[in-house]
């Protein structure tokens, strides 16, 4: 099916044939998924997984397989043109520590294991893509930069993609972020975000009787109650996620330290800023009322950025998804997408399959929908390559 596409309609006509080839690579994709998924890759500890990805790229004959100072891995698939490149990336890190059992199970219809959806599958798609393009007999006009991005999640704060974009010398015309789930996801805007840690320490000379409280847990509880009292507007959509609380060591040991991790998300950067100010006020107030040490550490921030819904990249992606009977689920992203858009690179995030139990040990992805997800990705890639996603001059 080697051909040049003259319109998006021609690409859409070929979707069934593309899907057929995707299905024929099922074992290759699943083997990559299993092998990548069984290599632990906590944020700042992605080296082994990235090395395996680069080894896969080398085996496929990719040029310039390398890693950078941040630990991200790259493979270059040169196109006919030197001044057009597409960046296709998946973050390489997962939320699971090295100590966690990373054994992956393959069932008839699904694959299960820690981090399998977020984002071992995204990375497995990258590892499989050179073989898939070869089997489709497609030679792109644009060069393809395949990137397993390190240090993306949590305290990583997108360090991998930011380092690449700050130091990259290759002209990138568009970006595609690949996430394992959910199929039908279409992100073209990044939400405003503030991620932080509130730490509370009770001083040793704390007067337990006078304060009427028993340790750091109650103080962090007071902080939580005050955060829950912050009024959140419905429009622009805003939320505060209280992600984790750590404190205490047993039944009868008064805890002296407690940590709360949270994330604020909003469609408005101003509201994120307002909430940040309110959080600072809360911290100051609780500190003075309880005579304890309460600190706020902001570990990541994102500004609101995005493409218009009418941007050709978004429009063509929606068109392709509709042709595959995938109602696009528009959702703002706080991942690598925002960095690309902030660097003036039009980019979207796509999901590959359906999944459940995200970030649990039994994290699961469905096998059958993966081929629709891959087809969608190839079609969008072809649309970008054909220039059908370029903005009018």
């Amino acid at each position: 099916m080697s051909r040049a596409y003259n319109s998006i309609e021609e690409i859409i006509r070929d979707l069934p044939a593309i899907r057929e080839v995707c299905v024929s690579l099922r074992e290759t994709l699943l083997a990559n998924l299993v092998m990548l998924g069984e290599i632990p890759a906590p944020t700042f500890g992605e080296e082994a997984r990235v090395n395996f990805l680069m080894q896969r790229f080398s085996e496929c004959g990719l040029q310039n397989t390398s890693s950078d100072e941040c630990g991200s891995g790259f493979g270059m698939l040169p196109g006919r043109s030197r001044d057009r490149n597409i960046l296709l990336l998946a973050h390489a890190d997962t939320v699971f520590s090295k100590k966690r059992d990373h054994t992956v199970s393959v069932h008839a219809d699904r694959v299960t294991g820690p981090g399998i959806a977020d984002n071992s599958l995204g990375l497995a798609v990258l590892a499989t893509l050179p073989t898939l393009l070869e089997k489709l007999d497609l030679q792109l006009d644009a060069g393809l930069v395949l990137m397993g991005a390190a240090r993306s999640l949590g305290r990583g704060d997108l360090e991998g993609i930011r380092f690449f974009l700050d130091n990259n010398k290759v002209p990138i015309v568009a970006g595609l972020c690949v996430e394992g789930v959910q199929l039908g996801r279409l992100s073209y805007a990044s939400a405003g975000m503030l991620r932080g840690e509130i730490f509370c320490r009770v001083p040793e000379e704390y007067d337990w009787i006078r304060r009427g409280t028993t340790g750091a847990i109650l103080i962090i509880n007071e902080v939580i109650n005050r955060i829950l009292g912050i009024p959140l507007p419905r429009k622009p959509q805003t939320s505060i996620v209280l992600g984790s609380v750590e404190a205490g060591a047993g039944f009868n040991i008064i805890p002296t330290e407690a940590t709360l991790r949270f994330e604020v998300r909003s469609e408005s950067s101003e509201i994120v800023q307002e909430i940040a100010s309110e959080l600072e006020d809360i911290i100051e107030d609780v500190t003075s009322q309880t005579a304890s040490e309460v600190t706020l550490d902001i570990v990541a921030r994102r500004e609101v950025a995005g493409l218009e819904i009418g941007h050709p990249l978004v429009k063509q992606a929606r068109e392709i998804m509709s042709s595959l009977s995938l109602p696009p689920h528009i959702t703002p992203s706080i991942s690598e997408l925002s960095s690309m858009i902030n660097h003036g690179i039009p980019a979207i995030t796509l999901g590959i399959t359906e999944g459940e139990h995200l970030h649990e040990k039994r994290e699961t992805v469905q096998i059958e929908p993966m081929f629709t997800g891959l087809t969608q990705l190839i079609a969008v890639l072809l649309a970008i390559d054909g220039g059908f996603c370029d903005e009018a001059e």
Binding site: R26, E27, T28, L30, A31, N32, V34, M35, E38, E59, T103, V104, S105, V106, H107, A108
Partner: protein, 324 residues
């Protein structure tokens, strides 16, 4: 060949065979065909992963294997469906050589695989390995491709979870260390060089597999080793360190049954080879105990160690493979 010399020369690490392209070149030069056999009985949890890894890596990406076959003993779960769905050839043990009847046991599947599969080399890998990796096959096949004098390559697993430096004990599982190694030390000292003689992963040349009998139960591996040693000597063996193997751990009582079966097979082989003489008839009942409050009761397990004859003795086999 002295034991220490053999250990030095015939013991490998899978890392020595990382260059699979080179391995395939050597295989093609010799015109060899290679079959992978996965004997199964209710392995739906792990079989899919094993087939995906072997098919993708050692058939599609690097054509080292010419066939991947599951020989099933009659699973009642979805083992066969999953194996077939991911591209393995699936055979019911009872459908192979139907005139020979059907016996229960893993050894039966291994024996019937010799008839059913086409490879000059057959690599057996257990189907319950949780951390499956292509090394489990190429690490065992490679010594046979590179060393024509080697005929039977066993896996062993030697990757301590934590160790600082210096000497550390290395060996097999509980049944190996408590039963098989002491027996080998007494009667076949050279065979103690095999670090894990009972491991379920090994690659063997057809000329060997067709010429030896197959006990169908727990004793198949022990019996094979004694027969291969008797016919071809120590130099026919090699062993490869495959690092770590994660699998189900067995209860001590189950290991008791295994040890019983192995001991019976061992005694029968040693008698057949004239190492031991005039053994009494060996009973097939293993007796274990269980307690109900203060009362103890005996539990009897009947453990047969039937044996299949060398495949070469079957006319059907000789006809299929053109043997005179």
């Amino acid at each position: 060949m002295k034991l220490n010399e053999w250990i030095k020369k015939n013991t490998f690490h899978h890392g020595q065979f990382w260059d699979i392209k080179k391995l395939i070149e050597a295989k093609e030069k010799q015109g060899l065909t290679i079959s992978l056999c996965l004997p199964t009985l209710n392995e739906e949890k792990t079989i899919g992963k094993e087939i995906i890894i072997f098919k993708s890596e050692l058939m599609d990406r690097y054509p080292l294997l010419d066939e991947i076959a599951v020989i099933d003993s009659g699973s009642t779960d979805k083992t066969c469906e999953i194996a077939a769905a991911f591209g393995a050839d699936v055979y019911l043990s009872s459908d192979i050589l139907p005139k020979q009847g059907t016996k229960k046991g893993k050894g039966e599947n291994l024996w019937k695989a010799v008839y059913q599969l086409k490879g000059d080399i057959i690599c057996y890998v257990d189907a319950d390995i949780a951390n499956i990796h292509p090394r489990f096959a190429y690490g065992l096949i490679a010594p046979l491709i590179y060393n024509p004098e080697m005929k039977y390559v066993k896996a062993f697993y030697d990757r301590p979870l934590a160790f600082s430096q210096g000497v550390r004990p290395s060996g097999g599982g509980r049944v190996t260390e408590i039963l098989v190694r002491p027996l080998f030390s007494l009667f076949f000292p050279e065979l103690t060089g095999l670090i894990q003689p009972l491991s379920g992963e090994y690659a063997v040349r057809r000329e060997v597999l067709e010429a030896i009998p197959f006990p169908i139960g727990y004793g198949v591996e022990t019996s094979h080793i004694i027969d291969v040693y008797d016919k071809w000597g120590l130099k026919a063996f090699a062993q490869t360190d495959l690092d770590q193997r994660v699998h189900r751990n067995q209860a001590t009582r189950d290991l008791g049954k295994m040890a019983f079966g192995i001991l019976r097979a061992f005694l029968r082989r040693t008698e057949a080879l004239g190492v031991l003489h005039e053994l009494p008839e060996l009973p097939s009942i293993l007796r274990q105990f269980q307690a109900h409050s203060e009362a103890y009761e005996q539990v009897e397990h009947e453990i047969f160690e039937e044996e299949r004859p060398p495949m070469i003795s079957l006319p059907e086999y000789r006809e299929k493979f053109g043997r005179k």
